[in-house]
Amino acid sequence: MTTTTLAVLVPLLPFLGAVAGLLLGRTAPGFVRPLAVLPTLTSLVLAALVAVRQGGDAAVNAATELTPTGSVPIELALYIDGFAALVAVLVGLVASCVQIYSTGYLRDDPRYPSYAALVSLFTSAMFLVVYSGDLIVLLVGWEVMGICSYFLVGHYWETPEARAASLKAFLVTKLGDVPFLIGLFALATDAGSFRITRVLGAVASGSLDHPTLIALLLLAGVAGKSAQFPLHTWLPDAMAGPTPVSALIHAATMVAAGVYFIARLLPVFEASQAAMVVLAVMAAVTMTGSALAALAQDDIKRVLAYSTIGQLGYMTGALAVGDRGAAVFHLLSHGAFKALLFLAAGVIIHAAGTNSLAAMSRMRNLRDRVPDAYWTMTVALLALAAIPPFSGFFSKEAVLGVAEHVVTGHTEHAPAAAGWLVLVAGLLTAVLTAAYAMRLWLLAFRGRGAEAPDHGRQPLTMTVVLWVLAAPSLALGGFAFRLLPDWFDGRDLSPTLTTSVLGTGVALVGGIVTYGAWRHTTALTARVPLGAVAAHPEGDAAQVEAEAIATHEPAYGDIAYAPDPADPGRLLLGPLHRHAAAGFHMDALYSALFVRPVQAGASLVRFLDREVVETYVRGAGALPRWLGAAVRRAQTGNVQTYVSALLAGTVVLAVAVVLVATGA
């Protein structure tokens, strides 16, 4: 088979698996698990094969036009360069892990068939985005991911949090998608084609008329999909979905799509200095804000969600300084360790029966209950905190190194201001990242208090994938930074001395300070009892998690916050803690700025309808009603009266007719 055929099969197989799963889910439950896992695994193998064959050489570029579509043709096009090949491998790896993990995680879930089919569809859509060489085909995958995320985040739709979160995720990403669509049209009109190769050619020849406008419009869609400030608010709430879905969304698919899209079309953005600065500001605000918020969250998954936003900020930061190699490098390593973090968090939630860190910090021996999750999560957190030699260190150093490169004025594309912004924010975030990684680890595994509840052994499917993912988290960076430049643009990705020392130093400082704070506050843990635990020793992990999410707000008064004085984050953040826990009140701000005016307008319209329009309607109805009441009195039931009236009318009519006929 040619590379093109293989590449076509990669998105097609999960799609067919999804269709078959939806069709057979009810009638043949035995086929559901193979139908969910096997196509994704095959796609992983094929994607790896495509990557090997492509090998970082010239991009595979193939297209076929199904039907003429007017002035700007839409083609079914493939465009596989090194970025696409490697990202597809990551997508396949994470999706396969998630599918295998889900068979254990949603073991007893009655809606597992539709869930697995949607995950397959999601994976297929991401493959389509990755491989597509045509912007409209890319958009199809982009939107399919949007609707799949809606369904998957709302998987526990019995809980109000999940319903609200799925709606929010859908609406916020759509809010970005509208400008994105307009931006795509503007881009295609300027370039005369939807093909990525031709668009890049047009950019290279400088025939783009409105680069800033187009870049900013596209940026809105990317901000929505990749959860960048100011459209990031859906991502923490999307934690109401099952943990494997969070892993899928955060590690490889949905949020990666935005970064990947910019990486593909980076020359378009580079054509506008303003867009690059906006991107840099966005990245800087997103990074630092989300890292602060992550330090204050109580829900373990929300910590990871804010961490995702921050790491995505690193990637957009790398793009803002014009190096997509570093961005995609970080995307790859982050995909591996973030998927691991989420899947391990799922195991921990199952074992602990709660998603609250405050409750976990009051449990003894949680790490002995879940040794696999403990060790792999430690690896992943070290990678997240960018401690050498874990993979996160190399990718993050690549980003910081590029930013430093720009600051010292060695590149012509990116403005130096962007470099400074990314560098400073990146270092600041590195401190905070290490701090919240440390806090998460300490609170989850170093708890003291009652014995952790026993939920039995974790299913093998759930623990094996953790080790599978732990390998790249541990070693990917160290091996890849030398090989990847061949696949990417060819720029050096090896860590520079200055940023390595600076980054590792601040990360260590963050970790040590957090440890100190924890030592200081941990004595309080025993004195303040806190926490609610969902105890279902027989239930599968999904059921435990759904209960944990549903009980968090009644137990602690807030979905993200717990009044725990033993929390080291509270000591570190001081007065900022309250605001950081609420995500710096972005939701309240949006509610005040957009939701309330819309609701006020709706109530105004309702008032107008109820009071004004309705009055006219009632007035119009009153006269006939009065007439009817009057006429009703004539209904005496006496037939003779009726006939009298009838004949009297007949006489009158006859006389009138005679008079008219005789012309009187």
């Binding site: 006496n638 003779q640 009266t641 004949l647 006489v651 006859a654 006389v655």
Partner: protein
């Protein structure tokens, strides 16, 4: 049209023929009997005055040379219809003698409508047929021979259809007047009860 106008010239209202005088007199009796029929308070008397009205009409038919119709009128109306009505009065236990409430409360409205209708009709009819003259000389227009010929030459199909209608009326009347089987055994004093329940 010329025939009508000449007729009008030759036959004025002020010089009536013998037939006209007879028609007028019988007509007055008929009308008077009809008025008594609809106003009398004795129900049986009303039926008997109806006999007078219908008989008067039969005489009018004879004067119009429609002899077959006249005899049919006597046979069917005077002979059977009035008898049926008298049966009906008896079966509904109509009081014999004066009944104070023979007229309903609707009588003034009825009077108004009737008088207005009469005025309009008489006015129109007189206005239209003031000058029209019926020539009653020559062979009778409604002799049995003429009527039979036209009836069985030109009107056979409606005639046969009418016989079906009569049959249907016959069956309908039997069905309506038949008592329900359940009532047959119950005493006559309580026989209204189940039917009343049934109509609810």
């Amino acid at each position: 049209m010329t025939a009508f106008t000449t007729a009008a010239e030759t036959h004025g209202f002020l010089s009536p023929t013998g037939v006209e005088i007879a028609f007028l007199l019988v007509g007055l009796v008929t009308f008077g009997a009809a008025l008594v029929t609809v106003t009398t308070r004795q129900l049986v008397h009303a039926a008997l005055w109806l006999v007078v009205t219908l008989g008067g009409l039969a005489v009018e038919y004879l004067l119009l040379t429609a002899e077959f119709i006249a005899w049919v009128q006597v046979l069917i109306y005077v002979g059977s219809v009035v008898v049926l009505l008298l049966f009906g009065l008896m079966l509904t236990r109509a009081p014999i003698g004066r009944s104070p409430d023979a007229d309903s409360g609707n009588r003034w409205a009825a009077l108004t409508v009737a008088v207005a209708a009469a005025a309009a009709l008489v006015w129109v009819v007189v206005d239209a047929f003031r000058t029209t003259w019926i020539d009653l000389d020559g062979p009778a227009a409604g002799s049995t021979e003429a009527t039979g010929a036209s009836l069985f030459q030109n009107w056979v199909l409606p005639f046969e259809a009418l016989s079906v209608l009569l049959l249907a009326a016959l069956v309908g009347a039997i069905v309506l007047s038949r008592k329900a089987k359940a009532d047959a055994s119950t005493p006559s004093g309580a026989d209204t009860r189940p039917d009343t329940e049934g109509t609810r």
